[in-house]
């Protein structure tokens, strides 16, 4: 796990959540900006996922490895799931749906970083 990457992904996630909230407030559906934001977030998460997987393969062992892997897999899937669920919503609430997924990503990333830094056993 790279802390700068977590910070960058958090910034993108929070911005995406704000964008989603804004489109709900303005009675708009989600558009290409949301799509781009979710894409960028997913890209950062994939890079993070590859780096973390490589480090685990190279011998880094978080104390709660199982939980870490479960969370890492979940966090990578979240923006995709959020986007799919939001795209099928024809009303202004689509943005909030995407925002929920983005905020969940932000929270889970910091939890992942905590898990990553506690090694031992």
């Amino acid at each position: 796990m790279s802390t700068p990457l977590v910070v960058a992904a958090t910034v993108v996630a929070v911005a995406l959540a704000a964008l989603g909230g804004l489109s709900t407030a303005l009675h708009r559906r989600i558009g290409s900006a949301h799509l781009a934001g979710a894409g960028l977030l997913e890209l950062l998460l994939l890079v993070q996922g590859v780096l973390a997987t490589a480090a685990v393969a190279g011998g880094h062992r978080p104390a709660e490895l199982t939980t870490f892997i479960a969370y890492l897999g979940s966090v990578v899937l979240l923006p995709v799931a959020g986007l799919l669920w939001a795209r099928t919503e024809p009303t202004r609430w689509a943005g909030t749906v995407l925002g929920v997924a983005a905020l969940a990503v932000a929270v889970m990333l910091w939890r992942l970083l905590d898990l990553w830094e506690v090694t031992g056993g």
Binding site: W85, E89, W93, V97, A104
Partner: protein
């Protein structure tokens, strides 16, 4: 007729899905690796996870069956967060490792306390608009 997974309901489903995922992953790991340490707390975590999954599925599917499932799940969830929240404050010994519902969900921004209330309000709103 308004359905459970449309408009604001879709947001509710999204939040429930996140909780189902988080609680499920956590409970699975706890039960598999450290069940002996705190059986009560971990069984409660697993119960909470099941309830979140049921609420998510019930709300997402909608219809009579879906709404009934969601209603029961939200009811159990509200009772659970109130009972476990109270017990966890009264008897910390029994809850050495926190569950989703400990301290009324304080470890999760009190969302576990707010969520069933929103779910029940949403279901009531739908049944009223269907009746009216």
């Amino acid at each position: 007729m308004a359905e459970t997974a449309q408009g604001p309901g879709r947001v509710l489903v999204a939040v429930y899905a996140v909780f189902a995922l988080a609680a499920g992953a956590r409970a699975g790991v706890q039960l598999a690796t450290q069940f002996d340490e705190a059986p009560l707390a971990y069984l409660l975590s697993a119960l909470a996870a099941v309830v979140y999954v049921l609420a998510t599925v019930g709300l997402a599917r909608g219809g009579r069956g879906g709404r009934r499932t969601a209603l029961v799940a939200c009811g159990v969830e509200l009772a659970g967060v109130l009972v476990v929240g109270t017990l966890s404050l009264l008897d910390r010994e029994a809850f050495p490792d926190s569950t989703v519902w400990s301290g009324y969900g304080s470890g999760y921004g009190f969302i576990p306390l707010v969520l069933p209330v929103l779910g029940l309000l949403w279901l009531r709103h739908l049944s009223e608009s269907a009746a009216g």
